[in-house]
Amino acid sequence: MAETMISMHHLAKRFGKQVVLSDINFDVQKGEIVGLMGPSGAGKSTVIKAILGMIAVDRGKATVFDTQMPNRELLARIGYMAQTDALYDTLTARENLVFYGKMKGLDKTVLTHDVEHVAMVVDLLSDLDKRVINFSGGMQRRLSLAIALLGTSDLLILDEPTVGIDPALRQKIWRELHQIRDAGRSILITTHVMDEAELVDQVALLMAGKVMAFNPPEILKAQYQVDSIESVFLKAEGVQL
């Protein structure tokens, strides 16, 4: 049977009086891409931060590789891409990659090879030695994704990775993500782009702090009797089609 990479049990979190997560339960298996979808403000980023141990949850627990988070050492096995680009503007793309690689604990030989490889995946090879401050928004997003891809992480957690990226390059990135999955690694991804939801193995539909549905896209479509994930989304939100 498949190994469980991430497991969430009854996660609950509130900021002040506002309940952000009320009861989150779902798992991410080894060799699986799980898409975390939901309207803005549904708590997607909060789920991710809880998994990474960046916020303390009020109730429930999140485990990664069967170890309860927060756990500092486990972070070495996770590739994370935040919603904000989080880059050092005055440094070059290569310097950013090398710095974050070192922080992740990658050794020099691996790092030199990986920098070239991830730059190729996000099509930034020719811009590696340019400073980030001169990058367009899309280029910064790609560099941010490249940083997450550094090192052979068992688990990738990507928060809106394809925002502002051109369709052709988006396809290329998805091919890479599928290769990663086929190599037995797992990906948890949040996205707003509905047709991307067709490309994942499991969709976790997050609404009002709860997981409304957790199924492969085809089953989800059948369940809601519609022909696209976008319609599932609208229907779940209660919009009349």
Partner: protein
């Protein structure tokens, strides 16, 4: 190892920010050069005194005093008018066998100078009178006893030779505040720039991103300390070398000790900067800490003599890091004190450093729970 990588990154970022670098190194030098001009040009006060009905001899004596100019007025009202319009600083008036002195008193230094000048002139006058009387008496005595009067050995002026343990006759206020100023610049720039740097890490999301890697919290804080420590060493060296080579200021003690004290201060400044940056949400809010944290320290560094303050005010100075570095730097530069004699100051600075560093490392828990 990660500490080094972080330090390297911080230094690379800074090296690309030419304006900030220029601010750190050129601004202190400019200010010090300017101050040396302001304080060295004239360390004496020139006083203008008006005299009304003062005996000519005394007036002459007063006029002969250095840095005093005398102007004679015929009436008191004319003198008072001159005082009001700031043409003279004091009036000396002789009436009913006593001297009336009126001071403009808009500048305490002028008043003191005028008081001193008059007192000296009067004393000299009296002494000369006595000397003359003595000479007359001696002459009369000689005439009576038919002896040659002894040469005026007793009336001969005694020569005064001045020796200076530090500097020379031109050593003034500037030399006193210089060691303190070096510390102030180090503190000010490291505090501000490191605080801003960490604030930017926080607001741009890089701090969050950094803490999503297995880096330890103390590695981040130590990385910052390492990089800003290097910067503070260079800054201190540049300032000290400029003051020695260009201004010809004498440093009695070891320059290495001076650098070490300022390094300690810089690390305290860094810790304070990082700590306070967590209470600021923007660069502008960071700037608002300057009048609260930086400016008050200037008052307690010894630029204004601490002994002249009320006891309870002096107590405030104990929580000001620059006070300790200022005292230590002054001792090294002016008296050549050895580091081993400065351990109380160094220990206090270390205590500041350790406490704020621990607070910083624990404070990062807000962004990652482990």
């Amino acid at each position: 190892m990660k500490t080094f990588a972080i330090a390297k990154r911080v230094l690379t970022e800074l090296s690309r920010d030419k304006r900030t670098l220029a601010l750190m190194f050129v601004a202190p030098i400019l200010i010090i050069l300017l101050l040396s001009l302001i304080f060295s040009a004239s360390s004496t006060t020139n006083t203008k005194m008006g005299v009304v009905a003062v005996p000519t001899k005394l007036e002459q004596r007063l006029d002969d005093t250095e840095h005093v100019t005398v102007k004679r007025y015929t009436t008191e009202s004319a003198a008072k008018k001159a005082l009001k319009t700031d043409r003279i600083d004091a009036i000396v008036q002789h009436k009913d066998n006593q001297y009336d002195l009126t001071y403009a008193n808009v500048d305490a230094a002028q008043t003191t100078a005028a008081k001193m000048a008059f007192k000296n002139a009067l004393t000299n006058q009296t002494i000369t009178g006595l000397q003359q009387k003595l000479a007359q008496t001696t002459a009369a005595l000689a005439a009576v006893t038919h002896q040659q009067p002894q040469k005026q050995q007793s009336t001969k002026q005694v020569k005064i030779i001045n020796h200076y343990a530090y500097g020379d006759a031109d050593t003034g206020f500037f030399n006193k505040i210089l060691p303190i100023l070096i510390g102030f610049f180090v503190f000010f720039f490291v505090f501000l720039i490191s605080g801003m740097a960490l604030l930017r890490e926080r607001t741009s999301g890089t701090l969050d991103r950094l803490l999503a890697t297995p880096v330890k919290r103390y590695e981040i804080v130590f990385g910052y300390m390492l990089s800003y420590g290097v910067l503070a060493i260079i800054q201190t060296l540049v300032i000290v070398l400029v003051t020695i080579l260009i201004l010809g200021v004498q440093v009695v003690g070891n320059i290495g000790s001076l650098v070490l004290i300022n390094l300690l201060l810089a690390l305290v400044a860094l810790s304070f900067g990082i700590l306070l940056s967590t209470f600021a949400n923007s660069e502008f809010q960071m700037m608002q800490f300057i009048p609260i944290v930086v400016i008050p320290q200037v008052f307690f560094t010894g630029i204004i003599p601490l002994d002249s303050m009320a006891n309870w005010v002096q107590v405030i100075s104990y929580v000001m890091p620059i006070r300790y570095s200022g005292a230590a730097s002054s001792a090294i530069m002016l008296r050549g004190t050895h580091l081993s004699a400065l351990w109380p100051e160094m220990i206090v600075l270390l205590v500041f450093l350790v406490i704020s560093t621990i607070l910083n490392i624990t404070g990062l828990k807000r962004y990652r729970k482990v």
